[in-house]
């Protein structure tokens, strides 16, 4: 019997300046090489969570993920309180922000960000004066709605109090100030960054919406009634940085098809959108790893029920996602009709791709929820799933692991760590690889054709996303010359000794740090 994903998790952290890191709040595994059934056992016993690796490579930083959320907000200026390296990639992302906004029908906006540029002196002094000047500068030059202050490792280690700065300047600044605590060294789980940003949104950005009284009593009654009705039919769909506008359009279409009102939040939202977050009957996550913290706290604040446990990728998961939403509104019959029609249309459309993909070996690597649902889809259309690799593994995918029903499936848990992945792929020799940004290049160098696991302009979710997944995989196999050439002429830097090593020998027990 599947358990509730966030059973026993508490959502009462908003009184604190910063949220607990995932290490404390959720826990999980960062290093594992083995089979699905072994992992399930070791996860239950707690052994998997106590593993680490000897030879380790660069993974991720929670700061990047936190900024991904907070910087997406409309009319926001992000101040990075750190040396210049943190988020230095943002300068080259000006066009990416606009492409993303324009694809959603939002007006283009400059990508404005400020570094406090902490130097050796600031390491001693904390750089607080500079931070204050930066806040005033952002306010005066850009008049934004949100100024977020993102704390890096340097102020984190010396204990610079950005919360005090915010409290001091709040009365002088018209933008909403939000401090975000996302120092990279503080957590082994990059997903802590989601909580850090959501904590800021919950604690500092969401305010009580302005209500304007209607002119006459009659109008007021009508307005109140309409609002109550609208709220009772509204479904908040919580988007994530890795989903495209295509995904949002498709998921909104499915929710609308049930006769409900979809609203996509919080990425790209205005502060006004955030203020009205509470006006919904149901909050629907598309990835528990991203936003259990946000939805849990919104339940505490507004009493809004929420769904956490399905990422609508592939046919089965999308079906389940629709069923769960429909069940909340007692729309079971409508849901079944919709599912039947959608499934028939989709299966017919993907039939030619299924023919090409049938029996081909596939490996999927990336974020825990997305890989397991994506893998499930390819398996469901007759491909042979040879392995998966998750950045980390926690309680949010326990049910998905049970659903795989392949006890001998190779599972690797590693954030980044391409050496382990290449070693594994070299043994399993899949026909195609689907992976997270940063991994696909190395897989190309190994000579395996691949497609990205997510990407801004591409639709992955819902039924249209399933069509895209099948279509893209089939296309990638039509001509594999690129990866062949690259593996022959470029290669990768790992030694023979490493490639012959059982990757499990690199894993150590009982050494969490």
């Amino acid at each position: 019997m599947p358990v509730k994903l966030n059973e026993n998790l508490k959502y009462n952290y908003l009184a604190a300046d910063e949220p607990p890191v995932r290490d404390e709040r959720v826990g999980g595994c960062i290093a594992y090489c083995g089979t699905c059934s072994c992992l399930q056992g070791d996860f239950k016993s707690g052994c998997a969570q106590a593993q680490n690796r000897v030879f380790s490579q660069s993974g991720g930083c929670q700061l990047g993920l936190a900024v991904g959320i907070i910087n997406s907000l409309t009319r926001a200026v992000t101040i990075i309180h750190s040396p210049l390296g943190c988020c230095s990639g943002m300068a080259g992302m000006a066009g990416v922000r606009n492409t993303s906004r324009i694809s959603r029908g939002l007006p283009a906006e400059e990508q404005v960000f400020i570094h406090t540029n902490m130097d050796e002196l600031d390491v001693v002094s904390g750089g607080v004066e500079k931070l204050k000047r930066a806040i005033f500068y952002a306010e005066e030059e850009y008049h934004p709605e949100v100024i977020s202050i993102v704390n890096g490792c340097v102020p984190g280690i010396i204990g610079a109090d950005i919360d005090a700065v915010v409290r001091e300047l709040e009365p002088q600044i018209s933008a909403r100030l939000v401090p975000i605590h996302c120092e990279g060294f503080k957590s082994r789980f990059v997903s802590s960054g989601y909580d850090a940003a959501n904590h800021g949104i919950l604690r500092y950005l969401i305010r009580d919406p302005q209500e304007y009284p209607q002119l006459t009593e009659e109008k007021q009654i009508k307005y109140d009634f309409q609002k109550k009705y609208r709220t009772s039919r509204t479904v908040n769909i919580f988007n994530v940085g890795s989903n495209s506008n295509g995904d949002e359009v498709e998921l909104s279409r499915l929710v609308s098809a049930l006769g409900l009102i979809p609203r996509v939040v919080p990425l790209n939202s205005t502060v006004d959108d955030l203020d009205h977050l509470g006006e919904a009957a149901l909050n629907v996550s598309i990835c528990a790893t991203h936003d259990d913290y946000l939805l849990g706290h919104l339940k505490e604040r507004y009493g809004t029920e929420y769904l956490l446990d399905v990422l609508p990728i592939g046919i089965n998961c999308t079906n389940t996602w629709i069923r769960k939403i429909a069940a909340h509104f007692h729309l079971e019959n409508e849901a079944e009709r919709l599912i039947k029609q959608e499934n028939e249309e989709l299966l017919e459309a993907i039939a030619p791709f299924v023919e090409q993909l049938k029996g081909k070996k596939i490996f999927v690597g990336g974020g825990e929820t997305r890989i397991l649902t994506t893998a499930e889809f390819y398996k469901s259309i007759g491909m042979e799933l040879v392995g998966v690799k998750a950045h980390n593994l926690d309680r949010f995918v326990e049910n998905l692991l049970n659903d795989i029903q392949d006890p001998n499936l190779t599972i690797e848990v590693a954030a980044g760590q391409p050496a382990e992945e290449l070693n594994t792929l070299n043994r399993l020799k899949p026909d195609i690889y689907i992976g997270h940004a940063g991994a696909n290049g190395w897989v190309t160098k190994l000579g395996i054709p691949n497609i990205p696991l997510f990407g801004a302009p591409i639709n992955y979710m819902g039924y249209s996303g399933a069509f895209e997944l099948a279509r893209r995989a089939a296309r990638a196999l039509k001509n594999t010359n690129f990866s062949k050439n690259i593996s022959r002429h470029v290669g990768y830097p790992l030694t023979e000794e490493w490639m012959k090593l059982d990757p499990n020998d690199n894993i150590i027990q009982g050494a969490r740090f």
Binding site: Q62, L84, G89, D119, R188, E497
Partner: protein
Amino acid sequence: MGDFIERSKFSCALGGALSTIAAIPKAVPIVHASGGCAAALSGTYNLSAGYRGVGYCGGNMIPTSNISQSHIVFGGEEKLVGQIESTLKYIKGDIYIVVTGCQTEMIGDDAVSIAARYQDRNVIGVSAPGFLGNTLRGYDAILSALVKNFIEKKEEKDVRTINLLGIVPGHDVFYRGNIAALTELLGKIGVKVNSFFGDAESVEKIKGYGNASLSVVLSEAAGQITAKQFETTHGIPYVTTDLPIGPKASERFLRLIAEKLGIEKDVVDDVVAAETKYFYSYLERIVDVAADLDFQRYVVAFTDSYYAFPLIDFVSEELGWIPHFVSINDLHDKKKQEEYSKKFETLTSKTKPQVIYEDKEGLAKKKLRASWPYNNNQKYYNALSPLYLIGSVVERDLANDYGAGFLSVAFPVSNRAVLNKGYAGFRGALSLTEDLLSNLVSAR
């Protein structure tokens, strides 16, 4: 010390260090820092430097000690030792460079001494925490450490060999093309170039760089520390000049080096004549369209000091465009600024550009706006038009606002894919002209 920066076009010292290491053939970085630094910083140069890629052992392939909370308290030296030993076993490399991040420097881990224990296996340690400075500082941290601790001392110098410094990999998006162009050009006057990152370089060759008789630094902001290190450790003098773009600048460049190395004037004369002829034999092709479509432009440059004068010099002295405004984002020292501004007085254009030093993008834009009289709705308005903006991808929207032609040359460049292209020398300038003018005809 440094103030806050809006839309910084620099990464930190660790970012510069990693970008530099990625450009050294078969060099492997070992990062002693938190888990995300290496991949994120490497990613900056992968995506924002004309899609330069992560390189031989970059991105998340970079061995990292993954320092976390408990190491901040108890120290991470032990973790680093394990990381160095396993990297030596599992990653093929000709040199291993241990670099530190902010976290480990702040807690006082002595990574450089630990690295020194593995000296016999080509491991060196370099302190390059983010707070040390920007990208350029990281470039100098790596190169000066190589010069001091890795490059062998040679009493006998080769009078025809120079060290080429100041071309920062990644930060100069066209670094490989520029190095190749200058290496080829100098080869024509019989000069051999030690470039660290050029096409035929290797770690073995770098070890022998003590043989040069001159270091040539192409930047006021990068390479100076390394050049001084070459001087103190290896007794090699240095000279600072500009990245040469186009016939006139390239001629000046060749004559400067020839003079320093004692190369006969005839040799240079022949090369300059032949290369200038080559340049104009191609430039001739655009003469008709440039005249018929009136391609002369006002020019605004938003770049670093490495590119600002060379680009303005080329468009002014060779193409005959009108230099109007230059915003430079990296020189902070007042004296250096004054000296740099003087370069623009040598331009023969009747209009000399206004030169400002500004690393807050919003303020630089305001100053540009203030550099030209406003349109007060008068009947006849002398507009700042036709205008061409040379900058980084960050200025794309600014160019749109002014209806200006636009080319991204300075970092970051994420709207173009760059492979072996370079703008330096006689022939590189042809590429630059192609790119500048392609933008003007792209809508036809």
